[in-house]
Amino acid sequence: MAVLIKILLSFIKIGAFSFGGGYAVLAVIQKEIVNVNHWLSNKDFIDVVAISQVTPGPIAINSATYVGYTIKGILGSTLATLGVVLPSFVIILIIARYFTRFSDKPAVKWMFKGIRPASIGLIAAAAVSVAEGSFIDVYSWLIFLLAFILTYKDFDPILLTIISGILGIIFYYQPLHALFRL
């Protein structure tokens, strides 16, 4: 029971402070799930991000559903997903009812002058911590460089994820190596 409430609260926190799109939320999710609550290892967290790249839906929802399930089954995943949606739900309904021109308010504009550049910093931090769990040898650097250049050139992220998975099999799948040594 206590863990269910903890899941709900943690994901409410994540939902309430996700600004600046999917990647910026990663820093918050990772802090809560990996560092504070130790629900997933950093490696497992990166795998959830990878799965999110090739499945529909926002990354915050995807990781909520996944993490919730790994901690406490279907009930856990339902609560985590509910938690991450709840702040959006409440805040948007309040804005829709009472502040129709919310985003034109000077205080909101100035707040975002602070948040917008900071959220890019959050993305940079997410990139660093994902990299920490990802570089195991020279092949991972090769994949990193290739993926970095291709992403910069606007290459499709889904295709890129598939290609790097195939490269993973070529570089790391031992039975394949054994086959070619025959």
Binding site: K31, V84, I91, G114
Partner: protein, 186 residues
């Protein structure tokens, strides 16, 4: 009304099911389905909603669903729309989680993810560069980006604290400048 709600649910379900790669990918499809094809809202209304969805916390796709749902069917409408756009990813990820937790230690799966992990780092890293370029960030804002990154990476600060500090920083900048909107600092 019930028919309209069912229709809404199906449209949002479709939007949730067919947009790969996160929230921003959902927006063009939403616009097409809601403002374009069905004329449930005007283009201007949709743009206004989008502005709010971007400046409120939470995934943009969810925010937009809540708002559009509310505009079209009140409180019930917002629940129906949000449920519709969330369910596809919920079901997909739940199935993957059930399956993946049983196979993730297999050598083949482990090899695939060893390949994908550095690519994920690269995709996130490259988006930092793209964002910095597209936002045409001035040196003052660049300092904020740098400080935020250092605060988290080096000093291990909670990202939520960093967001709060950045928001407070923005608001105190408004107080210092006398509340005047200066377009050049964007």
């Amino acid at each position: 009304m019930t028919k309209r709600l069912i229709q809404m649910f199906l449209v949002f379900f479709k939007i949730g099911a067919f947009t790969l790669g996160g929230g921003y990918a959902m927006v063009p499809l939403m616009k097409k389905e809601i403002a374009g094809k069905r004329k449930w809202l005007s283009d201007e209304e949709f743009v206004d909603i989008l502005a709010v969805a971007q400046s409120a916390p939470g995934p943009i796709a969810i925010n937009t669903s809540v708002y559009v749902g509310y505009k079209m069917g009140g409180f019930i409408g917002s629940i129906v729309a949000t449920l519709g756009s969330t369910l596809p990813s919920f079901i997909t990820i739940l199935l993957i989680a059930m399956f993946f937790t049983t196979i993730k230690d297999q050598p083949l799966i482990e090899a695939i993810f060893k390949g994908i992990r550095p690519a994920v780092a690269a995709m996130i890293g490259a988006s930092v560069i793209t964002l910095l370029k597209s936002a045409k960030i001035k040196s003052g804002a660049l300092t904020v980006t740098f400080l935020a990154a250092v605060a988290i990476i080096v000093f291990n600060l909670h990202p939520i604290l960093v967001i709060i500090l950045a928001a407070l920083g923005g608001i105190s900048a408004m107080a210092i400048s006398g509340g005047e909107e200066r377009g050049s600092t964007d």
